[in-house]
């Protein structure tokens, strides 16, 4: 009776399947949050695979381990992946995150928090006060909607306009004080560069649709214009007249072919195919010898006083992950790695700005020896972060889709496209 046999086997397999599905939904740890907060012992951390950060990371871990033989820290580069966020997200699901990741993007924090992957640093008695003292007034930007800190704001790369002096001079422009303050100035300069500077684009931000690409084209200029985050109190800000004006400005750059719609396989600025780029202080080490570079503030519609202009922070935080057993050690190591001394070493080795107030006077010797970095250090005090709201990544993707469609590829009206995206963003920011 094969049919009976088949029926019996189907029943057995289906029962096993359902049981297995049911099993996967269970599980849980035994250690209470308080016990974990107090626990000390060996921990593991990840840091970025950036060469300079690896160098700094090794030094800080070695310094810690020399003094804490019973609480040894093991450090590894973050595993390779499309992005650190994807690797960390997968690791949270697998339950094998290290205690600390020194490369946590603030935009991914709401998602990691939703996954139950992060530890609120407020759970340590001196958690909130330490962050407040170290970071100062900007710390509030890193609080989650529940009022807690699920990240330690660590270092920032405040973005500005980096330009190639040689190409500016070739186009007959003033290479020391380039006319880039207003949108009109910027457009005229961009046209001159393409016409006479021998470049394919005046500026060439990635025209692709990754959610984070807006941080290096629209968002810095939007912040420079408004000083606001993309979403404030649940309300999208990008469809305000100022936001639309920024969109129109970029749209003109694309339609006049002063910015390219095609993806450049490589580094357009480094290869001198573009004369400008929106970058942070990391660029000084990268382009230092290759390009005769200058730094200019971001353009605004009215040509604001540079000392008042704010920019996107391009900040990276340190996250403590819930799979961490010895959280007491993790917290102490986190404070050690973000102490004034270690922050100074981070600045020295990487050129990236620690999230501390008044960097130029705090590390006066460094900036005296490295005056190139001063403009970025001053700008570091005036940075705006991505909004810490639910569905953060989806909000950025929604905006990016509208931006690529209406601004980069010029399909439809910028205002209508931004309005449409704003409706969806409003729902997402409310947590729906």
């Amino acid at each position: 009776m094969p049919s009976t046999r088949i029926r019996l086997w189907i029943a057995i397999v289906a029962t096993l399947g359902l049981a297995l599905v049911g099993c996967t939904r269970g599980g849980g740890g035994n250690q209470t949050a308080d016990q974990a907060t107090q626990a000390t012992g060996p921990i593991k951390i990840w840091y970025s695979n950036n060469q300079d950060e690896v160098k700094w990371g090794k030094a800080v871990v070695s310094a810690w381990n020399q003094a804490h033989s019973d609480q040894k820290v093991t450090a590894e580069e973050i595993p390779a992946g499309k992005s650190s966020e994807e690797v960390i997200g997968a690791s949270i699901t697998a339950g094998n995150t290290p205690c600390l990741v020194f490369n946590t993007a603030p935009a991914a924090v709401p998602q990691f928090q939703k996954q139950g992957g992060l530890v609120a640093l407020d759970s340590f008695s001196d958690g909130a006060s330490y962050i407040g003292e170290r970071v100062g007034s900007r710390a509030d930007q890193y609080k989650s909607p529940d009022g807690k800190f699920y990240q330690m704001p660590w270092k920032t790369n405040p973005v500005q306009i980096f330009y190639n002096k040689k190409l500016f001079a070739k186009a007959g422009l003033d290479a020391d004080k380039p006319p880039l303050a207003t949108y009109q100035d910027f457009l005229a300069t961009a046209k001159t560069l393409v016409d006479k500077g021998g470049v394919k684009a005046a500026i060439w931000p990635a025209p692709s649709s990754e959610f984070f690409q807006s941080w290096f084209d629209f968002y810095p200029l939007f912040i420079a214009e408004t000083g606001k985050q993309l979403v404030v109190d649940g309300q999208p800000q990008f469809n305000t007249p100022e936001g639309v004006a920024v969109g129109e400005f970029w749209k003109q750059l694309y339609s006049d072919k002063l910015a390219q719609r095609e993806l450049y396989n490589g580094d357009a600025f480094g290869d001198q195919k573009a004369a400008m780029a929106i970058v942070g202080p990391w660029a000084i080490a990268v382009y230092g010898d290759k390009v005769d570079w200058g730094v200019a503030p971001l353009p605004t519609s009215s040509g604001k006083d540079p000392a008042q202009i704010q920019t996107f922070s391009d900040e990276k935080s340190v996250g403590m992950y819930s799979s961490c057993q010895n959280r007491g050690t993790a917290w102490e190591f986190l404070k050690f790695a973000t102490s004034q001394e270690q922050d100074g070493k981070l600045l020295e080795v990487t050129g990236q700005m620690p999230m501390r107030e008044d960097l130029p006077s705090l590390y006066a010797d460094y900036f005296k020896a490295h005056p190139d970095y001063t403009a970025f250090a001053e700008q570091a005090a005036r940075t705006v972060e991505v909004p810490n709201v639910p569905n953060s990544v989806e909000i950025w993707q929604t905006f990016r889709d509208a931006y690529t469609e209406s601004v980069i590829f010029g399909r439809g009206d910028v205002k209508s496209s931004f309005d449409q995206a704003a409706e969806k963003v409003k729902t997402l920011a409310a947590g729906s």
Binding site: E85, K114, E210, S322, F409
Partner: protein, 304 residues
Amino acid sequence: MAASAATTSRPPLTRRLLGRQPVGYLFVAPYVLFLFLIFAYPLGFAVYMSFHDYFFAAPGAIVDRPFVGLDNFTTALADPAFRRAMLNVVIFIAINVPLTVFVGLLLATALNAAIPFRTFWRASYFVPYVTASVAVIGVWQWLFNSGGLVNSILGPLAPDPSWLVNRFWAMPIIALFATWKQLGFYVLLYLAALQNIPEELYEAAEVDGAGPVRRFWNVTVPGVRPTTTLVVIAATITGANFFTEPYLLTGRGGPAGASVSPVLLMYMEGIEQGHAGYAAAIGVLLALGVMVVSLVNRYLLERS
């Protein structure tokens, strides 16, 4: 009496369950286990996810992933990005499948004939298939970008915006790329099938006065029909799952989502944005669509 006899002669449960040769289950067990763990369980779990507001969470985390019924499916069907992705599958298959069958069979026939350097040509057509997509995509980007070789040849006839950032041309270029990349494999299948066509059939057709075209149409094409069915179904299934091409060649489904594919959409929704339940629903819809198309293909190709 008959009923009583039937009752008394009914074999025991172990026999009914395991059959006459229970040891056979031992032999098939490893593969059944593999099939269950690698295919059946994930498939079942994906269906389960598609009916929930599911997202990946840390082990032991107390999170709410409620049952949402058909919500994920209705959201997908109303989502312009999903509709565009499904339309792109249709465009892709409409270009890729006929081109694969036609060019694949033509090339296999040519490579089966006594031509000079036959082994070299056979290997040449197989090279793209075994080369990493990332490497050949770089070459295609160079060919089709605004300052690339193709536009240099076309001069003023080149489209503006250029191929890969052009809403109309992005999908056909992707389909063309995939056809070129996979062709070597299908040529190989056809070459194997051609070996099985008896030479006598060609001789008989020639005696009856059939020329090369007639022989190809009346002998070769029917002779490789089972392989054509396989090629059409395989090309449809792999075609519906295209991902690398829009991800790399057109910069994540660009321009502005014009070349997005369902699998790329699943990746963006499920992995990047944390909507695993919604991504699973897209996967289920795609699987159902591919199943229907494959059954129609099979019916059309094998009905005679």
